[in-house]
Symmetry: D5
Subunit: 146 residues, 10 copies
């Protein structure tokens, strides 16, 4: 039940068919970001979505239970090295205390859930250079007193 | 020129005056997220903004050069412990490779800048529990070949 | 607004008055575990509870805003050294994958919240040696697909 | 005598037979949490229990000595990354000193054993969202003076 | 209630009075190793022993509650640097798996307790160079199945 | 010349022949702890001892030069995770400074050698639970002034 | 799409054909430093350049999509060990704060981009020993206020 | 002989006098990069240069021996956090193996010295955004065979 | 071009032929320490020396370009575990600041090169136990001011 | 009994009197390297030597018991940053396995003691640049079998 097998099969088929996260997302009516995360092994797919992806990409349906299994989410290094990912880590380091202060001011004591959570990526065209717009949307969870 | 001095003075004055990042941001016509980051010592403030903040909060203008100095941005631990900040770190860990794949698909090889960058935090009201919406907006920087 | 000041004042007063987490918890109608965590600086107290604690322990009410502020939760070392705390860390290491497998079987893909969460400690008397019983109760949060 | 072999055989057979930790635990009269931990390679099984599990799952009895061998308990990273397991780690970080203080108050100087120890997981139904209830039960071990 | 205060007072008085761990241990009828560990802040002392030590060393009895408090046991670095202490760490590294194998062979699955535990240090005279003999004595704790 | 090969062959043969570290040690007139350490790859064996072990266990004498080669002693993690081994590490952490102070008092400035060193493990029967007794015996090495 | 395959094929062909980074760079009209980085898997190559390299080195054009894919940039250790690379790391450690101070003085608050970036290496002949001259050229990115 | 004292005195005087690394460098006929590094405590200054700096900035000549002492060069974290300095670290990570390969091709086996070394920073004006140009110049040191 | 292949072939041939680092060093007129380092993959060999070693040990001359390639010098752990190597690391830790102070006193500000460097190991016979004598000889490199 | 106090007093007096490690070593008939290590807090001094040093440097004899106490040897970072000390660390990394192999060949299985150990530093004049010669002399300790 190794999710790496599904990931590699999907990446290969995606390249051969010319599908994109965008086209695949539209085809199964899900966000491309969520779809990519599930194909890369970081989320579990509902069975019907997994079935649909396998059909579109011409993959063996033996991958369905693998895609719908609960993943073990792991990453390699405490501090990422790839520049695209490091910049996100840096934003957490530079703005973490800022976000904490602003969220507490707006919501009180608690956190933004990373589980009841969704995320989108958009391209904002700009003559000085296009911009990446990432939107994170997570439920606010207040701390419980007991 | 220790930014900690300015940070503590501002937090104390903010509590006493009842000002918020939101009200201060509006007063000086800047985003509350940026303003908070600059007051917490993670960004430099243009002199006129620093002057305005000191006036609103009744602070000595000796803080102006401190607030407008270039900060040394540092954080304590490679993996943050505070739950609010850790959830953001976890999002980078869980979704880092996903974001890399989606951004490369949309933009080609390059990164989202964390320097030519802005960020907002909004509260989305929801009967099942309000939601935190964080929007990041960074210039796409393509890798140069030479 | 340093929570260490409140923590030290409370520990000193607790020793002098002979109060315990148990007696204090009963007096303000909260769990002794939650109360201890808030006094030790790891949770924020509602203002009325903070006021009550200060009165019982004869402490200056200037501590009230400190006790009700949102804490920055931090710990010193990735691997704890104190034997009592290390054993809890070891339980997470030894049984983490087991708990993951059992919870996924019972609830599906998701996690136990550490925010919408409570915990109790009881003493189970036993002729072969008393036993510590720790009960953790956290909301199950299913992963969102989007 | 590699416990990974037994683990993989059991997980595969469990999927094919539709057995669960719960049904297997009942069948051999042991807790599903303990059973899962032993099947995942983190505890040793008494030979009769190992024999029974192999029969129920239709596995070769060559796995019996592997299942009953003393495991080398190891985990990958000082700070776990999987969100379900991380939340448990976070609870130890946030509440470790609290538990230490409460247990010392109730029992004196000593620790809760992680060896003479058992654990259960229950589902508490709740209209606002079901809750995970984890109960840990460990012998109190007082420090010896000599 | 900082155990460092007691430690420093005791080390100073010990030097001035010429007492040794050995003479102090005999005087209060306890092992010098345990006594040293309690004076250095790594174990709690029964009140009568703490009282006796303060009297012998001419120390203020305000140290008694500090000496009898439950310590927070902490050490600085995962790998010790002082050569005397490093050699002990090295013995654990080189012989850890050996001790595990030998103890499992003699006792079955379980561990040697570090809590229900005592230790002695003796000097073995030897013409080729005296030898240090350290004896550790810990209760065997078998793993529980449940 | 990989010592892992010898280790695995010996563990397999030991299981099949029913020999123990104890019986093997007696047969070749060496301590079972030393013998185990050499078989597990952490010490080199004199050739005659290696020859004798191979004969008793019915192993190919090609293992003799492997068993008598100087090992590269290595361990995986700075902080061990297996509970039996961790307890030994914890003893070094908790009692390291104590042992340093007691040994300096008895012997002067220097260390206990981990090279000119032997160790034994005994079972002490006890109605309240048997006890593990580990004895370490190392030459005292005084620091040289020059 | 493993860039290691392309790297190994290129290094082997480079050795057999006697080509150098310099000669290859001239042949395709790119800098040898950039070319080496792309062949070693740390940058993506425009397709025509990848095609040209494969032709010159007599390599299968199946390597073209691998060479033009976006790399996952990773390195092994936070602190490099190879002396040539360590010296560069040391320069960052010793002169990092200096460069920060000098760049802020010349440019204001911001950074030198490592993405919109190029680098050259030249040999400066010198009778006392030739010198390595590394020139880095990166766009200055000012921090944005918002 | 704490270089931090000299550093702070110089930074304060530099701010008050309006001198820059550039103007100071010209005044004493040294590179502003070297001068900054020596003032920030990472290099030792020849006495006459230290004397000249103290005179220009109106500082007590007691700082001269501090400025000319050999520094202990240290930095805080294996991976820098400040974005300007991190980008330099990232360049070493991304291009380290490239530089190694190119330098070995041009010079043979050896390294670029970080001791017999100089560095300059220039501003390259550019309508698309000015560029930072860093030039490093270090003696090539061939490995010795013996 | 993997130096591990050459290393393993040489160690095997050395064992079979009975050659030693000493005898091989004499045969090719190089120091046994340097020779060992080059055979173990930590230095590059001039081609004629590599050719000579292959002939003496009866090895395929395909190893010559491997032996003369520039190595990537890497080691596994920041703190070595093998006792022989750890003692050297400990000497650097204990005496590092001492050596720094003594060398600066004798030579001024600078370092001992580890590149323009040679090392020898001798056995000093001594009735109380033979002694290892290691001599390091490295060029002093003064820091450059510029 | 803080050795830092003695260290600072000695360094100050050494600067004021113009004494050097060399002149002090000669005056008390000890090696300057050992003397420096004892003054810097990494070795204990025999009382007569400590007395002599205090007299030469005009220091209060209260420092004598501090200088003759057993030090707790500690260093800050697993990987040193100062270039002079790092080069020594690098030599251990690059040549550690080489020294292990050469010493085992010359002496059998065992180590060079870092306790029964002495070290000298000499300047070797050389027209191409003076050389630092470090000689380490440690007793060979063979592993004991038992």
């Amino acid at each position: 039940m190794d999710k790496t097998i599904a990931k590699e099969a999907i990446l290969k088929a995606k390249l051969e068919t010319g599908e994109t996260w965008d086209s695949l997302g539209k085809a199964i009516n899900m966000s491309p970001v969520w779809l990519a995360s599930a194909c890369l092994g970081m989320n579990s797919m509902p069975e019907d979505k997994a079935q649909a992806i396998c059909e579109i990409l011409g993959l063996n349906s033996e991958l369905v239970p693998i895609l719908s299994a609960c993943p073990h989410k792991t990453w390699d290094k405490a501090v990422p090295t790839d520049p695209l990912i490091y910049r996100l880590y840096e934003i957490v380091g530079v703005y973490g205390e800022t976000l904490k202060s602003v969220i507490h001011e707006k919501f009180g004591d608690g956190i933004m859930s990373a589980i009841d959570f969704s995320m989108d990526v958009e391209k904002e065209e700009n003559p000085k250079g296009d911009r990446v717009v990432i939107t994170m949307n997570g439920k606010f969870l207040p701390y419980k007193s007991w």
